[in-house]
């Protein structure tokens, strides 16, 4: 186990040390002490390592992640796991706005609540939020799954493409061109798998599925101002 204390050393040294790990590294377990809300902690990782951050983080933690598992033992600031490609990011507390934005792959788990714009423009990432999500979540979401065990805020899935949204609680309002859809057996399978991976005890049958009504795909004069 490698330990890095941000009270004693700077962030750039930490991130470049983590970037230096490759597929064959023996140093697979890292602990980061005293994050104290610093920005860009454990950004740009690309190795099969597990990093545990012991506290809350600021902007853009675990951004652009590939392969690595990043555990945040507190809450995360704006843009956590932004543009994740693969791997796993787990936040014990809450996530601020645009968590998992533009993510292409991997799994983001928020055990508390996520605020506005969660999964905005997601492109294949899976996101599981144990609590609630804020407004404008999954805006222009293209692919992947957004699973919400609590409630969703205003304008869920506005102008979304082919991402799937599963919400167990209430949805304050749906965004433009987003509608409730039939839950088919294959969706229950996807949900079961994601809930297991995210250590949630919610039942797939308790969720409703939302997705694109596909009316904004092609130019339609009635949609123009």
């Amino acid at each position: 186990m490698q330990t890095f204390d941000l009270a004693d050393s700077d962030l750039r040294t930490l991130n470049s040390t983590l970037h230096a790990q490759n597929d064959d590294t023996n140093q697979t377990a890292w602990t980061i002490e005293n994050p104290k809300g610093a920005h860009a902690i454990a950004c740009g990782l690309d190795a099969p390592i597990e990093v545990t951050i012991k506290g809350s983080t600021g902007y853009y933690s675990a951004g652009m992640n590939q392969q690595a598992t990043v555990n945040i033992k507190g809450s995360a600031g704006p843009g956590v796991a932004e543009n994740m490609m693969s791997g796993k990011v787990v936040i014990d507390g809450d996530a601020s706005q645009y968590a998992g934005a533009t993510g292409h792959g991997g799994l983001l788990v928020v055990k508390g609540n996520a605020s506005s714009r969660c999964g905005i423009s997601m492109k294949g990432i899976n996101i599981v939020v144990h609590g609630n999500i804020g407004h404008m979540s999954a805006f222009m979401a293209q692919s992947g799954n957004l699973v919400v065990c609590g409630d969703a805020g205003d304008a869920l899935g506005d102008s979304c493409y082919e991402a799937r949204m599963f919400v167990r609680g209430s949805v304050k309002s749906l965004g433009a061109d987003c509608e409730e859809k039939e839950m088919r057996p294959e969706h229950l399978e996807i949900l079961k798998d994601l809930l297991e991976q995210a250590e949630s005890d919610a039942k797939p049958e308790e969720f409703k599925r939302y997705g694109s009504a596909r009316n904004l795909y092609n130019f339609n004069i009635d949609n123009a101002y």
């Binding site: 104290k36 809300g37 600031g77 507390g93 706005q97 605020s115 804020g134 407004h135």
Partner: protein, 298 residues
């Protein structure tokens, strides 16, 4: 960007530490806005006394005999306590309005930063660290306070464009964001007879709240109606003589984090600003909801 910090103390034992804690919080937010910085502190309430905090770019010229010169225009004693470019003029609370108009005559270059029973506002161009040092903010005690560090977007970097803005007796406002309808609103408020000094968007926001309250709204009602009438991005933190409030616009893209313990309620643009507060590890930490007015009172 801009950075905001705020601290509302529930535990009186922490009051001597208010200035030190706020300074530390504000300096941490320096990289959110290095243009100017300001701080509003609510100090002790002395019966029937009031304070006029004023600023001058030439303090040696303007502040020399200011208390004595002002005494000729108001009844009762006037004392002056100078810190760098600011001085706090203390007098009978019922003389504050008279003193303010007299000041325009006898010291036309002096600008009023704040008026109230307990409020003092200090603000200048420069880094938070330097501004806090010039006014010895760390030595100040008080029940609550608000700090701001500015990255200017809507108007010039000047003392008068710095935050906090005094919105009425013992009331102040700081803002992170930008208002997009401030020109039309400024014209509307000026037609209503409201005095607005600068081209700054936040001053319009502050004047709007003052005008609402002069027309019978409570502060929280004024904040509620700001959600309707102000267009643009804002996270506002407001201070009153015994309270502290927070409101974010419905889009809520300007960051905000709050923490509450038995000892205090704290606000920071980022969690970083809160990390040195006592007991933060066990505090309830959350992000304030969009379009929701939060308020704490003593």
């Amino acid at each position: 960007m801009c950075g905001i910090v705020g601290l509302f103390l529930k535990d009186k034992k922490l009051e001597p530490e208010l200035g030190t804690m706020l300074t530390d919080m504000l300096v941490t937010m320096t990289d959110r806005g290095p243009d100017s910085a300001g701080i509003a502190i609510y100090g002790s309430d002395v019966d029937s006394k009031g304070k006029l905090t004023v600023q001058s770019d030439t303090p040696d010229v303007d502040f020399g005999n200011l208390a004595a010169d002002l005494s000729a225009h108001v009844s009762g004693n006037v004392t002056s306590s100078q810190k760098d470019t600011h001085t706090v003029l203390e007098m009978q609370a019922d003389q504050l309005a008279t003193a303010r108009s007299a000041l325009k005559e006898i010291r036309p270059n002096v600008r009023v930063m704040s008026v109230g029973d307990t409020l003092e506002i200090y603000k200048e161009v420069g880094l938070p660290k330097d501004v806090a040092q010039r006014f010895e903010v760390a030595k100040m005690s008080g029940s609550h306070g608000i700090g701001h560090t500015r990255m200017a977007t809507e108007s010039a970097v000047t003392t008068m464009g710095a935050h906090p803005f005094n919105t009425g007796s013992d009331q102040c406002l700081v803002h992170n964001g930008s208002l997009s309808n401030h020109n039309s609103l400024r014209r509307r408020l000026r037609r209503e007879g409201v005095h607005i000094e600068t081209e700054n968007d936040t001053e319009v926001g502050a004047a709007y709240l003052t005008w609402k309250m002069q027309n019978g709204s409570s502060l929280s009602e004024a904040l509620e109606s700001s959600l309707e009438d102000l267009d643009g991005f804002f996270t506002f933190v407001v201070g009153t003589k015994d309270g502290f409030g927070v409101v974010r616009d419905p889009i809520a893209c300007k960051p905000a984090v709050m923490a509450e313990t038995d000892q205090y309620v704290a606000f920071g643009s980022e969690y970083r600003a809160l990390v040195n507060l006592p007991g933060i590890e066990d505090a309830r930490v959350w992000e304030p909801e969009p379009a929701t007015v939060y308020f704490w009172n003593h």
